[in-house]
Symmetry: C2
Subunit: 326 residues, 2 copies
């Protein structure tokens, strides 16, 4: 039995979370051996789903890299490194080991398996390649482009021979997109009075692929700039999650006029493609063809602040929290 | 040279058209022979596109059945019956004969080629089969279900083994849907205070396929009732066309949460499938497995009133205008 530091929610959260919604608990004791029978429930929540289905008083969940300390599952043995959903705590008992991926390639920084080689990387891959089916020369727009997923979609799009413009909410992020991630262009949506006019400036001939992360006004303006037979992969609508009433979208008739295909997706339905994804991405990483930026916070106790920062866009790149170092 | 009665627009129309926007002209003279060279522009407007690109003073266009009086095109000869876009006039010079379809099966009433066997029939076929890819047992919701397209989508869906509910705007239409077209159920949206509650009553387990003809509040309520991996074929948004500002759609996040595929389509991009469509539908018609209702007005001069009636939903079934009888 060991002490197990945890991040818990005090109560149900409505609206965006605040640091005061969380508790750092240090009184939990956890066994480092798997019990003969476990009645833990399934752990398949992620931050993206919002907080409504978390049980106050239990640790929140998230994607993490972990080391196996004990296992009764044939796929995993002591010492294996894995990535997947675990609790925000030092030690987790995994009720559904099949949901975890064994890490086979350790020449890549382990933290990348929370991002580039984990859920966000697969999300970018699935949304861009599987949902949008890009063609060389197509024009791609990405909102929240400096986030964990957006930065990768942009780089995949450049590698696929597309023209890529991203939007983000700070000068630092715009600089990253243009100077580090190789986007053809980028703009700060907070500095644009008229998003429709901004998009017409960057896409005078219209947009073939919109990778949608934000919803609301950006979606509405983008609909006016989509080309015939264009595609919208709906990955997120972060501007809308915590509103009492979502904003109205007025330009949906474009879906008809331009014969747009708009499709929502969740990465968990595509994990069978993970080996195909690795085949594509590992060579790019090893040849330095992909740039990946992390915003690293240290220590479980700083997790709530890091999480809250996501909702105000404070992070630059993928937010990672270091719980322990190998 | 013969006198050629025509329906013209006086001026550009904003908002829904009124009878006073039209003129019946009888002073035009038309040659019944094709001139050696024609500089007529292409005629590819339809009512569904709105009126903004009609030139005042020239006849409006629509789908019609016509008899060829003269032809220099190898595909057509004098006496052939054809369907496709022509002017609202007694005699039309066709600038793009390749846009017309020769009528091969004359055991079917000719007027059906403006509907069941013409553009509306193909639209129902394409939107339901090609866009939505239905499976037996799926739950299908159709708005404007008593219209030319909706009544056919519902019957295709029943023939495909689906559960089908339609909405429409009058008691007469609801009766038709339930008692003539074989829908499992139907409701009058004008009598429902709460469309979301109505849909939950008819689809307690949710909707797999929504065939969208109206947009606005109906779309917004339907989004809340779509199942995971459901599909929305966007065929029309007639409630929104003539508004100064379209209504806001607030429930688009369902596209993400339910992984909905929403896709706009226009039938003209699928006409290469017309033979496949005939192979499916002709046997159904000959075996009386499909019911088809027309709302017939007589004479070109009654065209404007019939057209205006579409915008208030006055017609029951496919609105047809008889210009001449064979």
């Amino acid at each position: 039995m060991v002490k197990n530091k945890q991040v818990l929610l005090k109560d149900y959260v409505s609206g965006s979370p605040k640091e005061s919604d969380f508790i750092i608990a240090t009184d939990k004791k956890t066994s480092l051996e798997v019990p003969e029978s476990s009645d833990n429930g399934p752990a398949n929540s992620t931050f993206e789903d919002g907080f409504s289905h978390y049980t106050p008083g239990s640790p929140i969940n998230g994607y993490a890299v972990s080391k196996v300390l004990d296992s009764k599952h044939p796929k995993f043995k002591k010492g294996d490194l894995v990535w997947g959903i675990t609790g925000w705590e030092e030690y987790s008992l995994i009720a559904e080991p099949d949901s975890l991926f064994k890490i086979e390639h350790t020449d890549i920084p382990l933290s990348y398996y929370t991002g580039l080689l984990g859920m966000p990387g697969m999300t970018a891959y699935v949304g861009f390649y599987e949902v949008c089916k890009p063609k060389k020369g197509e024009k791609v727009f990405i909102s929240a482009a400096a986030g964990a997923v957006g930065q990768l979609v942009g780089q995949f799009a450049k590698l696929a021979g597309c023209y890529v413009v991203g939007s983000a909410g700070s000068k630092a992020k715009i600089d990253l997109l243009k100077n580090k991630f190789g986007f053809d262009d980028a703009f700060n949506y907070k500095e644009e009075q008229d998003l429709d006019a901004a998009l017409k400036r960057y896409f005078p001939e219209g947009i073939d692929i919109y990778f949608e992360n934000v919803g609301g006004k950006t979606l509405d303006a983008t609909l006016l700039n989509m080309k015939v037979h264009s595609r919208i992969a709906v990955c997120g609508m972060i501007s809308q999650y915590n509103l009492d009433k979502p904003e109205g979208i007025h330009n949906l008739a474009s879906v008809l006029y331009k014969r747009i295909r708009m499709e929502g997706f969740v990465v968990k339905e595509y994990y069978h493609l993970y080996p195909k994804f690795l085949d594509l991405v590992l060579p790019y990483i090893r040849k330095n063809k992909i740039t990946y930026v992390e915003d690293i916070a240290e220590g479980l106790e700083n997790g709530p602040a890091a999480l809250v920062g996501l909702f105000s866009g404070r992070n630059v790149g993928k937010q990672v929290l270091v719980v322990a170092r190998e």
